[in-house]
């Protein structure tokens, strides 16, 4: 217990150092205030946006819109990437079939194919969610496949000898064995979706945190950009803490086998 809270202080310290650096560099004019506004100014913009919203929508709806898109995309990624990843880790045939496609699309920059998505899915939320989904899918899939690869072969054999069909072994052994990897994959994928948020909200959005940042950058509103970035970062950190907490409570045996 003592060690833990001590480490908590360390984390606070490093956040504090960063904030001081920011404050110092603006106070001493090390950076162009046009691009790095002072903390006070950012706070002012934040209060403003809280009170009056940004460009017609209240702050809550910007956050809500983005989270809705993220959540939907992420949900889709989880229900597809995990089973597919497990399947293609487990069966070389499935792997041979779907791996080339995933390997090919995976490295493609979203900005390069977004227009195609717009063409197919329109300018509504569908194309945005599709883009976010594609961003989340690949890292999750890869993490899961790698997770399957590292399961001790004997564990699967033991399950089979206990009467597990291939399908049941999949569900009852492969899946729980991969949980640590799945959690890592979820964390990476969550980061990846998040980083695509701005790109996704580039097209025909009028709300969302990504759009807010993008729009502000067009009009050199660096204080709003910072509000957006800080908000996105904080929300992401909270989500990440949630996943980490889940990982810790769900996989108590990790590292102790």
């Amino acid at each position: 217990m003592r060690i833990r809270s001590w480490n908590g202080w360390l984390s606070l310290l490093s956040v504090f150092l960063l904030l001081s650096l920011w404050w110092l560099s603006t106070a001493l004019n090390w950076v162009n205030p046009l691009f790095v506004p002072s903390p006070q100014k950012v706070w002012g913009a934040f209060v403003d946006i809280c009170r009056e919203g940004y460009k017609g929508s209240p702050l809550a709806s910007h956050i809500g819109e983005s989270l809705k898109r993220l959540a939907l995309a992420f949900f889709l990624a989880i229900v597809t990437a995990i089973p597919l990843g497990l399947a293609s880790g487990y069966s070389p045939k499935v792997r041979a079939l779907i791996d080339p496609l995933i390997e090919f699309y995976r490295p493609l920059p979203p900005l390069a194919y977004y227009t195609l998505l717009v063409l197919w899915l329109g300018i509504g939320d569908a194309s945005k969610i599709a883009l976010l989904f594609l961003a989340a899918f690949a890292p999750l899939y890869i993490a899961v496949v790698a997770g399957v690869a590292r399961i001790p072969r004997d564990r699967i054999l033991a399950a089979r000898s206990l009467g597990a069909s291939r399908g049941k072994a999949f569900l009852y052994v492969i899946f729980p064995s991969c949980l640590p990897d799945i959690f890592t994959g979820i964390r990476t994928a969550m980061g990846m979706t998040y980083t695509t948020l701005v790109a996704a909200e580039m097209v025909a959005a009028v709300s969302g945190m990504g759009w807010m940042v993008l729009d502000a950058s067009k009009f050199l509103r660096s204080d709003v950009i910072f509000v957006g970035i800080l908000l996105m970062g904080l929300i992401a950190v909270l989500l990440d803490l949630l996943v980490r907490w889940l990982a810790k409570t769900q996989v108590p045996w990790n590292g102790k086998e």
């Binding site: 004997d154 564990r155 000898s161 206990l162 009467g163 597990a164 052994v173 064995s177 045996w253």
Partner: protein, 272 residues
């Protein structure tokens, strides 16, 4: 195949030829690795396992006992020769063939009881029944107190016992055990030997039992197999003259021929 000692000296061997032939291994050899790393582990091994048999397998460390067990379990395919298990040509992992691994190999996310339930769950046994049977198995190996623990919270010997419980709970027709009592103290070991013997006497499953303990082999086996050589092959395959359904192991140990037989077996191990 040399059958020194045992068969030559004793003919008061119990006949087990009457049971159905469950496993038959014919002229099997097994090669691990490929290319430069190629290594022949078993050569020309033939063996049978019949209903109601309790075969104890002995042999020097690294001679191929586990590999033989894995062939029967369907975990490895023979490089040449045939392995028939329960009538099927291609050996595959299956619920009729239970395996106790040399390392416990439990599912780390399941409690001991749920590890023991696993086989029954896979076979679709209802919740209440499987829970009861699993608890029974866990209690039998002396882990009643620890049934809610996760494997990483167990000691080495407890893990091994949990693995035994897991396999026995699923009541397979053939049980393959790879040094199941290796990490147990003398008292627990004797206790479990009795349990296993009683279980086997009641159900007449076939048991393939790898052990390093010569006494254990003599006290439990209906037939003793000694593997030896490199690549490994069957050096001895003979009925255990000491085998008796009636006498307890303690009584067996006291029989006159015990000491001599033990020495013979150790000799044959040395020269295998």
């Amino acid at each position: 195949m040399r059958a020194i000692g045992l068969t030559e000296s004793y003919d008061a061997s119990p006949s087990t030829e009457d049971g159905e032939r469950l496993v038959s291994i014919e002229e099997v050899s097994l090669v691990y690795g490929r290319g430069k790393k190629e290594k022949e582990v078993l050569r020309n091994v033939s063996l049978e396992l019949r209903e109601r048999e309790f075969v104890c397998v002995l042999g020097a460390s690294g001679c191929g006992k586990t590999s033989l067990l894995r062939l029967i379990a369907g975990y490895e395919q023979p490089s040449s020769g045939r392995v028939r298990v329960l009538g099927r040509e291609k050996a595959e992992p299956r619920p009729e063939v239970g395996v106790v691994f040399q390392h416990a190999n439990l599912f780390p996310w399941l409690s001991i009881r749920r590890n023991a339930e696993f086989g029954l769950r896979m076979q679709g046994v209802g919740r209440a029944e499987r829970r009861e049977r699993a608890e029974e198995a866990v209690r039998r190996v002396g882990l009643g107190d620890a049934e809610d623990k996760l494997p990483f919270e167990l000691s080495g010997g407890m893990k091994q016992r949990a693995a035994i419980a897991r396999t026995l709970a699923a009541s397979p027709r053939i049980i393959l055990m790879d040094e199941p009592f290796g990490a147990l103290d003398a008292i627990t070991r004797e206790n479990l030997q009795q349990q296993l013997r009683r279980l086997w006497l009641a159900s007449r499953q076939a048991i393939f039992f790898i052990t390093h303990d010569v006494d254990e082999a003599l006290l439990l086996a209906t037939r003793v197999v000694v593997l030896g050589g490199s690549p490994g092959s069957v050096a001895v395959d003979a009925p255990n003259p000491l085998y008796s359904e009636e006498e307890s192991t303690a009584e067996l140990r006291k029989r006159q021929e015990y000491g001599k037989l033990r020495e013979q077996l150790v000799e044959s191990l040395k020269h295998a």
